[in-house]
Symmetry: D2
Subunit: 369 residues, 4 copies
């Protein structure tokens, strides 16, 4: 297994962006991934990282990254060939082609971009939910022309989807399939990247629209909560028990942390009581925890008993941003039960998910040490 003495070199695509900066911040203190190559736009390529990044995090740029020379996002650029994993924080307008090229060059790509999420042979993987989907990369490789030996792509989910599916998975695990889910999100500005949301648009305001976000939640949830098909070549999309999902997405003046107000209806009659639901959240344990991968949180779901929690400013740092916090479980007069959930959209909602996904892949032998 890898270790600090026997590390795995990693590359970061989109290293100067919001997600890229988080990758760097988190990987700089990782027990066995070591930052080896940074990719960004050709405008930045050739320059020292600290010279061209607009670093927006409250911690300093890791010392050994400051002087690294940024490369173009090409698999033949200096350093990528030696990488056991390449993390992608690229914008979707360029992610499609670049990630394709990296995979074709026999590189393993763990991506935060949306481009391949709906691809029928690419795992859409939330580390606290569906690590079993990883196995489909074996088939993925064979579908390419030419087939790859090592190269494949795994994506993580949209940030607000991730915050939703973790508690939904806990519920399905404890009580069987859900029939209906309604969610209204209140999403942080950091979800839109940098410069992202103009301050004139969001100060003293709510914007009740985030382009294509509702569709992402409504679609991705079924892929993630569903299983692998029996032939191991794809995903069943929860098809035998289709879930009706309705999402309403809002941008609010919060820096980090997406909050969701969720109501659910179970297939099971009678449904579990609110007390049983609370217990299920408190008891929830997932495979990433059992595997003990380095970024796995101690508690995948933190259930908060106070009547006014979770709150983004107070709870987004729980478990170093790697959990979903949940509170306010109570009866829903329309469906069965409603509750509030919160995710740190830039950590578990983005970079932390990619990294934990890769850690699971290492553990399972899908990434060579």
């Amino acid at each position: 297994m890898p270790s600090q003495n026997s590390p795995i070199k990693v590359g970061i695509l989109g290293a100067t962006g919001t997600v890229g900066q988080r990758f760097i911040q988190l990987l700089a203190v990782h027990p066995y991934f070591t930052i080896h190559a940074l990719g960004a736009s050709s405008r930045s390529a050739g320059h020292e990282y600290s010279k061209i990044v607009k670093w927006k995090l409250g911690t300093e740029i890791p010392e050994h990254v400051k002087g690294m020379v940024v490369q173009e996002c090409r698999p033949d650029a200096n350093g990528f060939a030696e990488c056991g994993v390449v993390f992608s924080g690229l914008d979707h307008d360029v992610a499609g082609e670049i990630e394709f090229a990296f995979r074709a060059a026999e590189l393993v790509v763990f991506s935060n971009a949306k481009n391949y999420r709906r691809d029928p042979v690419v795992p859409l993987m939330v580390p606290l939910v569906n690590p079993s989907h990883l196995s489909v990369v074996n088939h993925q490789r064979t579908t390419l022309s030419p087939p790859t030996k090592k190269g494949y792509i795994v994506t993580n989910a949209n940030c607000s989807t991730t915050g939703l599916v973790v508690p939904l998975y806990a519920l399905e695990k404890a009580f069987g399939p859900l029939e209906t889910v309604m969610v209204t999100t209140m999403q942080a500005i950091s979800g839109a990247g940098y410069p992202g949301v103009s301050s004139l648009d969001i100060m003293d305001n709510v914007v009740p629209y985030i382009g294509s976000e509702e569709e992402k939640i409504e679609w991705e949830t079924s892929k993630i909560l569903g299983g692998v098909t029996s032939d191991g070549q794809g995903f069943d999309l929860h098809a035998s028990d289709p879930i009706k999902i309705s999402a309403s997405c809002n941008r609010v003046p919060v820096i980090d942390g997406h909050t969701g107000c969720v109501s659910v209806k179970f297939k099971r009659h009678p449904p579990p009581s609110p007390e049983q639901v609370i217990q299920a959240f408190k008891d929830f344990r997932c495979e990433a925890q059992d595997l003990g991968v380095p970024s796995a949180p101690k508690r995948a779901i933190v259930y908060l008993d106070a009547p006014d929690r979770p709150q983004p400013r107070l709870d987004r740092d729980l478990e170093n941003g790697a959990c979903v916090s949940v509170g306010r479980v109570r009866p829903c007069p329309v469906l069965d039960v409603k509750f509030v959930c919160l995710i740190d959209n830039v950590r578990l909602g983005a970079a932390t998910s990619s990294i934990m996904n890769a850690e699971i892949a290492v553990e399972r032998g899908y990434i060579e040490a």
Copy 2:
């Protein structure tokens, strides 16, 4: 009828509070209501208004109000006896007793407080929705001991309820009864009064809980959307077609303007299409408009076609804060249709509703000029 030459004197209870200040701002330019008496706590009584108020509005204190001497909130305090209407912006912890005393003293009270909203003989009146409820005050007077000749109480609804029932009423008027309503609100800080929400609680944050707000929405909606019983002595609470309502309420860092994400299901099958719903919102007209009372908006509902509207900062001033703005009508994968609504919580959600209710009462002869 009253006019600037033949005005109706009005009193304001809780004149130094957030709602009281709005009453003063709005009534200072009213065509026939003229501010005659100001009531506040005994600590403020005896002082000039401008000396003891912490005025928090962006307009100046009306010149003729500055020097008015504040009274205690007692019906025998100087000035109240001559008032044709007394508006109450009192806090609920004192509103119950004070409003009771004013009514007993043969004064007409239009209140923004919650105390009498569930009283079976007190109209819970949203001026753009249910002015017909006003007639029950005749019966209200007879139930008191001793019965009053003139004195009665009318309340307006909770601010977030008001923002919801206007579009719901438009839908019921056009398409018949609703079966199910789900709403998630994102409510402004001004709804909590002053000092109200601590800045440490709400900056860069969402608080997914507002005490008893969800219950208010879930209960008040049926009283408002329902009719008067056939004997004219009470309210039917929409009982023949009960509506299932589920509300989730959140405080967000917005100064004024409550936003709601709403999904509805109609009794009618098939339900109206989104296009028909949009048209119903655009065509909506209500009795307050037909009566032409001074505070009635030109458009009771302003439907906004842009995909990202309504937004509190941009739309709360539409129609001088006396309308509900609505947008984003689209199919709901779970219920029938979903949309976004916005209300200025301190105007139509509070002071403007009380004033417009009183204007309707003047027009209908329930207040003597």
Copy 3:
């Protein structure tokens, strides 16, 4: 003189931008200026205004402007030739050439852009301070090649400079020249245009730097407070009594309204007392008021006695945004006196200044009715 029956047609350059929108909002209700032509980038040209503008004001787009077809910013584009004045809200990167071309085409340009502010024959005019500078346009015309008959340019000052020079002018008028001025500004995000400041940069933050803003304040103040040279051909830059000025500029999370903390030292010994300074602010009257031009505020300076005023959210709407509000006059342990001033940066700090400047020019015969 012009009137509603005999209006003056005006054009607006940069009509879709932040300042352009304010021009439209304010001019739509002007007693004698009537919006006749709108100029914007070639991308917008040819389209109806309401179709391409991202309208960001809390009032609706004026009805008759919605359908106006936007032109390119060329003097020969449809409509500009008939305009008695052209207002410019252009960005500085294009304002220089476009305004030059409009002037050469015999059009009168009142600009909010910075490009010509330091031009020795262009008035840098704050309507509440130095309307006498207007006379230099006569000489300006003769310096051009070829000289113009009608065309000239007048600029207004930087928004934060404007907020500073109005109280400084009141002090110099009452007590003679100032020797030293120190100012620290806390400036609103709207000063940076749209999209302008990213929300990730300013929420829960202060940015202690605004590019070249300190230099503008330090330089423009002397031109504005100085007089016209004796030959009438330029400006004396307050040269006989040079003022030492030091500015520190900060961006803060405020939507509209620039606040300044100012300390001043007078040449006069002993200096006026704080009480005398307060009286001078309260007594201040300026030429724009004497002329009675339509946009002149009733009070050019509003002095606020409360110890914690002015505040941007509460005071920026005073006098419809056309005044400077001042408070907290008190002794300065280092210089003589310190105080706080506030300007609505998008009205008196930008569009209102241009419009009031033009009104003065109409009154004085520099613009033909």
Copy 4:
């Protein structure tokens, strides 16, 4: 010396307040201070800490503190007698009497309250500036009646004063006495405690007034930057070189971190150049660092070269909130040099200062292990 195996028990007065919570957060991970007693109002006394605190920090309540029973703030309450130090985060309205009583009971009090700051025998100690003042506690004990053997009080400075005096001390150390200091502060809401600033007062706003804050900065600075009198019995208040100081204080919508815009004039002629000033900030080292006390930052001043730094949201966490960050050194057209400084007002500006002061006292033998 104390250690984890041989710890010093500490008490915390005002344990439920904003500063008290920070004390708990910081002391819970301290190498040798161990939380032994918690004091709060009589309303809270007798209850478990986690039951009555409104915990407002983004980290969880330390596990072993949750169940601690809160005491009244009396020296004879359970636990205080065994404490080597008692930290006080009390409000000033009760701090005077309580701290007096604790000292009289032979307890050592390190206080964040303002009550004893101007006491001529109480050190006003900023750990990065004037640890030498500590020696005056010997004399302090003898002035009491009856004199104490062990008990004394040390206070730390006001949060905004602390952010100012650290860079001023660096300048005086490098270049000799200052003649003049002008500072405008932009202070965070957390400086006002909880509930503190109402959100209605500060959202989209600046409040240019903080009660008695300007006087604190103007007075405290001289005590801190001055020395101990030659007889060791008091403080010289920088009297031989009096500094003229003018402060203007503002509240801004920032959660944590006070920013200051500072201009200074040196006695020395010619003054140091901006480059020399920058170098002095970069080279600055203080006694707390030399002593190597646990809370001492690696860098007491972090000089930031970027033109737009320091910024509260990005830089308040530098050195775990225990340093002052400085930037934008440049010439001042009025005085000599101006710059921007930033302090984490709740850490170095409050709890961290008290703790580091106590660590220095341990190191110097003023607190018994």
